[in-house]
Symmetry: C2
Subunit: 115 residues, 2 copies
């Protein structure tokens, strides 16, 4: 068994084009022995966003704190703590922090490789 | 995209032998279209426990509230909010609520099928 406290997991700036004020923590990956899926935690500061993008893998998301808009090409959801979101494979999606505090959420993907 | 607030996900008593005062919420499963892994949330009341058990799939855990002991046949960890745990496939593990409040954690598994 392994344990990491979230305070000990490095926060890395997300540098993909169009992403603003957003950091990622890779909590469990293949490097930790995770064979099937990865656990990541996003910290999006006020004013932060991840623009609409698309990929062939799903997201399973759990909102920990703050408030954000999560949108697809079809709908917009205001997500708050205790909300869980499922973004299917290939569905375009994006995020905007709509609050005054960091919007923080777990986001699991079926790719244990970090990248 | 789908959204569920945790208040709307049914809590089901875990009825496996030896389990005490523990409920599970199946948040994302194959029934929701999740193709690769499932998100579940456990609520273990004070006095609750899941005895040592074993299975060939891993757990990726994130503690949301309360305090619990998570143990294997080799070690014991007191887990608190912000702690993430990785239990590898085939490692025997169990849980005890060691606090005065519910011990609540997310637990993802690489089996989207519920059950």
């Amino acid at each position: 068994m392994k344990r990491k406290n979230i305070e000990d997991v490095p926060e890395e700036e997300v540098t993909i084009e169009g992403v603003k004020k957003t950091r990622i923590q890779w909590i469990w990956t293949k490097a930790d022995g995770a064979p099937n899926f990865a656990m990541r935690r996003f910290i999006m500061e006020p004013g932060g966003e991840i623009p609409l993008h698309n990929h062939p893998w799903e997201h399973e998301i759990y909102v920990l704190s703050g408030e954000g808009e999560v949108y697809t090409d079809k709908e917009r959801i205001i997500a708050q703590p205790g909300d869980a979101l499922f973004v299917p494979p290939d569905e375009p999606h994006g995020y905007v922090n709509t609050g005054d505090e960091p919007f923080i959420f777990l986001c699991m993907i079926p790719k244990p490789e970090r990248g």
